[in-house]
Each structure stands twice: as C-alpha cells, then as structure tokens.
Amino acid sequence: MTLLPGRIATVFGGRRWRSLAPLAVLIVLCILIAIANPNFIELRNLVRLANSAAVPLTLAMGLTFIILMGSIDLSVEGTLSVSAMVVVLLAANDSNGNDYGWWAVLAAIASGTIMGLISGLVQTTLRIPSFMATLGMWFIGLGLSVYMLGGSAIRLNDASIRDLALHRFLGLPLAVWVAIGAFLLAAVIQYYTRLGRHILAIGGDEDVTKLSGVNVTRVRITAFALAGFFFGISGVLAAAQLGQSHAVIGDGRLFAAVTAVVVGGTALTGGEGGVVNTLIGVLIVTVLANGMILLGISPYVQQTVQGLMIIAAVALSLDRVRLRIVK
C-alpha cells in the first residue's frame, strides 16, 4: 500500500500509536474548540454535552459488540423507533388511555431486545450477511413504529419517565447516569464475561473460534439480542428527552453510532477495539457537533463531517495487509 494514510499510519508505529490516536484527537479537538470559543468549557455547556452524548453512547455500546464480531447492525434506527414507540404508547400519552408507568419502559427495552434477537436469528438461521438482514429489520422496525403511531407525533405525558431527561442527580440529568450505567454494563460484559470474550474471538477469527468449541451461532444471536437491548434503552432515553415519539425519531442515529464506533478505533473487520474505544468515539462525535454549533457552522454540515470522519478513521485503522479482497 503506497497510499498516504497507510504510510502515515506506518510512520507512527502502527498499532500502539493507533490505539492512542482517538484519545489524542479528542484532546486536541477539545483544546482547539476551547481556544476558539471559551464558552465550550463552561459547566453549562459540559452538562449539555453530556446530555447530548447519552443516547449515542447507549446506542454505540450495543453496536460495538456487533462490529467487534466483524458484523454490522443497520437496524439501529428501526429498533430505536420501535422502542420509543412502545414506551410512548404504553405509558401515559395523549393518544390512548394506557398508563402502565415503568412497565412501559420494561416493555420497550424488551421489544428492542426481541428486534435484536430476530436480527440474530435471521442472520444465523437463514445464513445471510448481517448488513442485509439488519437492512431488512431497519425498515420493518421503522414501518411498524410509524404504523402504530399513525404517522403522527404522540406526546409522552408520564412524569416519572420524563424525569429521565428533566430530573438531575449531582448536576447531571438522569439520562446521562443511565448512559454511564450502560457503559459500565457493556464494559463488564466485554471484559469479564464469557460472552464478551467469545464475541472478540469471533471477530478475530470465526473458524478458529468454532474449532475451539464455541457455539458461534448462539454467541451471534446473543450478541444481536444484547445490541437490541441497548438500542431499546436508548429508545426510551430518546423518547424521554424529546417528550414524544414520531416517525423520524431515529433519523441520523445510525450514522452517528457507526461514526462513533469506527472513530473510536474499533476495526470493522472485527476482533479489535471495544467499549472504551467507543466511549472516546462518542465523545469525539459529540464534542465536534457541539463545537460546530458554538463556532456557528451550519448544523446541516454535520453529516458531511461525520461521513468524512468514517472514511478517514476506517482508512487509518484497517489492517489492510491482511485484506486483498474488500467487498
């Protein structure tokens, strides 16, 4: 590979530098934005930053496990909108008489998990690549939630669920604490459970993992269900933050989540990276979005910047020597 990005990566000593690169990018980014606009490091802005990172962080936790396996989950937006739809329709709302309180939250998370479980089952039993299986699930979820909502926006009136976004504990909204909890849970799963180890092993080399006696199919299905679980939580958080659920509640979330995971340094080929990387990736994406608003750059350009970031991060991190065929 004689291309410039590849060369730069080699110059900086490959692996070791690469694992620290995301953190360096985050720090440099924070310093630059703080110089350009000191408002950035005001406490109020930092709280706002944490608040807007809550949903992407929870989402990206789920997606990290899938990408660690070398798969992809494109159903992020569909699953999130299903979960948001379920919580809004079952809790007190302005459309029907339901008022199940926190049972609605449980049902929403369960529905997210079931969506993930179906993705996993479809992928493994029909034996089709995950990006196709989850592309289908994306639109199934989206269609279902828009249908149930009747194409309109429905308000969430349950005060205790709204408190997730409105109530503060130690200065931070509860949603942020939920996201931190999700991060800790994901970290425990990745580093201290058999499931986490198996996911990493599958990403490293699926054949070897299978030969080592791991039930690859079961691990895959569990991983997709786990991802659905995290998407379900973020659906609840998103509904609580917006105070309503509508057809486009998931718009742009897939993109932000993929960007965060990839920019954090988790390789799309699988087996490399993890939830800590993703935490840094989410912070990079959120800080950049926040900084662009502070600097007065049109928010519409955000997707463009995120797209370029995906390309740059993937190009820098892929261990391209191993791959001759890329499809």
Partner: protein, 322 residues
C-alpha cells in the same frame, strides 16, 4: 436422505432462479386482472411503467454495484442531492442544470468507488459514509428545506412529464437507460469484467482484469443513474428536497434482489432488475388496492428483502457469513 427434492434444492437450481421472478410477475398481473378486470389495458400499463420508472433507474444503478458483490447505500442521498441541485440551479442555469445535477451524481459515485477501492473500505461502509457526506451537502445547499421548481423552471422540466405517442417520456427515458445498461453489461469489456469480478474476484484479478478500475466504473454508473433518477423525480414532483428519495433506498435494493440478482455478485443483470422493479411496483399498488395501511409498506418490503436475499444468495461463495 430425501434431501434431493427439498424446496431449498429447487430454489437453488440455476434456471429456477431466473424464472421465479418472471413467474411471480405474471402471476401478480393475472391476480390483479382477475380482481379488477381492465387492468391490462394500454393506459393503465403505461401508468404502471411511468410509476416504476424512477425506481427502475435507481435499481439499475445499484445493480452494477451488487453484480460486483458490493452494495451502494448512497443512492437515495445522491438522488436527493441531484433533485436539490436541479431545483436550485434551474432559474440561473436553465437547461444546463440537468447535466450539472447528473454530473454531481457521477462525481460522488466515483468518490464512493475510490474510497472503497483505494482505501480498502467495505462498500457498505464506504457508501454509507459518502451517503452521509452527500446528505449533509444537500441539506446545506437547500438550507434543510424543500425547493419548489417555479413556473419558469417548470417550462424546462415539462419535457420529462410529456407523453410521446401515448408513452410517457419517463418510460422512454428508463427504457433507454435500461437498454444501454443491458448492452453495457453484456457486450462491453467493462460489463464482462464486472461480471467476472462479481463471480470470483481472485480469479478475475489473476486473469489480469483491472479490478479496481472496474469497481470504480460500476460505482460511478450507480451514482450517475441515481442522479438521473433524482432529476426525473424532481421534474415529476416539481420540487427538490434533501430527503426526496429517502424512501427509495429499500425498494430499489429489494427490486434488484427480488429480480434475481444475488448479493454475492456475478449472477443477475438489468433485465432481472426490470422484472424486480415491476414486481415491487405492483406489490405496492396491490397493497393500496387491498387496503393495507401505507405505513406498513416498509415492513412488507423489509421482509421481502430478507426473504429474497435468503433465496438468491450463493452461500458457497462466502466462507464465513458475517
């Protein structure tokens, strides 16, 4: 073991894969004709073709990417950008807005191809990323709003909405594109090489085919056709918007797969995509006809996509399904 006669075997047979979509299409047409006699008249068929045109042009483009064993997830973004460019530029540039809008698609198609090939990024991520870049640009250019094509501009788009000898212009446009793509795949060096790359990349590479160039051309074609679809859509709706074609990504990919082109590459073509696009279109009309809620359309197409992929995929080609 009586496996020989299992349904899976029948589905995996080569000739059946080509014939099933066609049988399905004819079956669907017959059902509708029985349910609502008079459907098979020239007028309604012309309307059906006209309503399928945009979908078919998009699907033809993505056929190139899928034939190579890749995918293009940026087509809806490119089509939307083209619609915005056309609406924005018509007042100042006049007819020159058409080539400019279409060229923008070509440029982003080439960009996707280069990112995919040179940076060795899997195509679904590369095109997801370029799709984001393009959507951002379209939002920025249009300030996040839909742009109406005003009276003066509408005169210049009128030719797209015209009918020639009873045939809507859009049908003629998509026919020309379909035939050109068909010929390009079948009779040009690029087409042959594209199918070879899709059928077996290592062999194609070893045979001296310039795999990278073939892939870039395929993605360029996909981008350009997506832009043409966007232009036609904008002309039909007299408006351009950064989310105009968002609902078309899934039906377009579904049309290709339902038509019988395998996502593993190397098998399929534009003729199959034409059949697939008609099936999708008829299913859509049929759903409205039977009274299925319009919001459920996405669910049906999502399920159809998964089923079609499962049937057409060539599992011998992928060692590990990720």
């Amino acid at each position: 073991m009586n496996e020989t006669f299992s349904i899976r075997r029948i589905f995996e047979g080569k000739w059946t894969q080509g014939a099933i979509p066609l049988i399905l299409l004819v079956g669907l047409l017959l059902i509708i004709e029985i349910a609502a006699p008079g459907f098979m008249t020239g007028e309604t068929l012309a309307l059906l073709f006209a309503n399928t045109a945009v979908l078919f042009i998009l699907a033809t483009g993505v056929t190139f990417a899928i034939l190579l064993g890749g995918i293009d997830l940026s087509i809806q973004a490119v089509a939307s950008l083209a619609s915005v460019m056309l609406a924005q530029l018509l007042p100042s540039l006049g007819f020159a807005a058409f080539p400019v809008a279409i060229l923008s698609g070509l440029v982003f198609g080439i960009l996707s191809g280069i990112v995919h090939v040179k940076l060795r990024v899997p195509s679904f991520v590369a095109t997801l990323a370029t799709g984001g870049v393009v959507t951002g640009l379209a939002l920025w250019v249009s300030n996040g709003r839909a742009i109406t094509i005003e009276e003066g501009g509408r005169e210049k788009t009128a030719w797209i909405n015209a009918t020639i000898a009873g045939l809507p212009m859009v049908v003629l446009i998509s026919a020309v594109i379909g035939i050109a793509s068909f010929l390009a795949l079948r009779y040009t060096r690029f087409g042959r090489q594209a199918i070879a790359v899709g059928a077996g990349e290592p062999a194609a590479w070893a045979a001296g085919i310039n795999v990278d160039r073939t892939k870039i051309i395929a993605f360029a074609a996909s981008g350009m056709l997506a832009a043409i679809a966007g232009v036609v859509l904008a002309a039909r709706l007299s408006s351009g918007s950064p989310v105009l074609a968002n609902q078309l990504l899934l039906p377009a990919i579904a049309a290709v797969i339902v038509g019988g082109t395998a996502i593993t590459g190397g098998l399929g073509g534009v003729a199959r995509t034409a059949v697939g696009a008609l099936i999708i279109s008829i299913v859509r009309i049929g759903m409205t006809f039977v009274g299925v809620n319009i919001f459920l359309e996405n669910m049906v197409f999502g399920a159809v996509l998964i089923a079609a992929v499962a049937i057409t995929i060539d599992r011998s080609k992928i060692a590990v399904i990720k």
